[in-house]
Amino acid sequence: MIVRLRNVDKVYANGVVALRGLDLDVGEGEFLSLLGPSGCGKSTVLRLVAGLGEVSSGRIEWSSAGGPAGQPTGDIGFVFQDPTLMPWATVWKNVLLPLKLRRLAPDESAPRVREAIAMVGLEGFEKAYPRELSGGMKMRVSIARALVTRPRLLLMDEPFASLDEITRFKLDNDLLALWARQRWTVVFVTHSVYESVYLSTRIAVMTARPGRTAGNVAVEGPDARDEAFRTSPLYNEYCRNVSARLAEASRA
């Protein structure tokens, strides 16, 4: 177990109740998708886990290895829905940012930046500026930036939602390959049943606002997921199952 959310409520200052009584366990090394109708508070969960907001009530508990109780350790990577790059900085400097903010010495950070850029396949583009890159490449930079701190926990907030399907499939596969190699824990927010089934080891289905988890589906697909899995009866079976759960949760 890496982090545990217990009975979490989140009420925003404008009175919107985003989450009500949410329980969620994130296990070490799993690829967990948060699936739910839009506006159900999926992104809020990620922000709370990342420490970008306070819970209104309830608890977020980190495992002992995760640092001081109740505090995120800092070894969290966050990928936003938009690439969220600094337009005035090159790919290299964008990826370097988390290390620079932690005041890592340049000779220590340079190899890590190089490694992260290589992981997402952007070697040769270190000196390019974001406006010179395609949408998919910008997203890769954003992922490299999240990976450069070698996080234990990677939080992704509908990272590929704004990309075309071809780019998205490609990035899905690349992400899976990276995850298979590195085995960080991933919490992946999505509103796509198909994407969640394809990527995850477990799917947490959320209700409409105020959000809470309506149920979990463990996806016991093959370890190596590829186009064959995407067209297999097993995949379809899971999609049907998860869709039904989602429909049920949206009604509730």
Binding site: L52, G74, W88, L101, F125, L133, M137
Partner: protein
Amino acid sequence: MGSVAVRPRRWGVGRIVRLVLPPAGVGLAGLVIWEAVVRLQQIPIYILPGPWLILQTLVKDWGTLYPSLLVTLAIAGAALLVATVAGVMIAILFTQSRWIELSLFPYAVILQVTPIVAIAPLIIIWVKNIPIALLICAWIVAFFPIVSNTTLGLNSVDHNLLNLFQLYGASRRQIFWHLRLPSAMPYFLGGLRISGGLALIGAVVAEFVAGTGGAQSGLAYRVLESGYTMQIPRMFAALFMITCTGVLIFVALTALSHLVLRKWHESAAEREG
């Protein structure tokens, strides 16, 4: 994998010719018509001198006009410099606290909307040192665009980027240097471009006011003096120099802005195709 869009360097001779030729042609045609009208209608030179005569006067009187130009340019330049430093500092102060901005911004507006012609005489009376008085006038006109634009820029930080900085535990200082300042750069440079021209206008207006009071200074005084002594061609020559200076300041600041932003900002980016 896509490919990096290559931005062609298209500042070749052909492009410059295409950019410069049409306005130059219009200008030349205008001058020819002007010269022709003045000669054919035999307009007296104290009403309207022809461009050829103005050019001759410019060359003949260069010895008196050029030092005056330097005086005006020094005042405008110093005013712009002070406006930039003070403007950026005030903008930074504004973004430190909403209360500071709320309490001080109205006075920046008041300073901006009060006609400089009306308060210049007072400033010239209060401040005995004429160049300093002129500098203050030019500064008052020039500093507002820098303050308002830079303030806007410092407050226009991408919220997701701010979240990202917070996630990685950035200090206030780091957020300021690595996020707010670069975000504000295009806005600041836009303000600077406006202020450059305004600093010159402010300096000239103040020189006019000071000149009517008898203080000799800069190109505006040459215009005034030529008017008094009916040396109309010289007046036009001095006016022409002021205009050229304004254009040069604008071009220089535009080039600076382009140089700083060309790598990343849409305003300076060359479009494909």
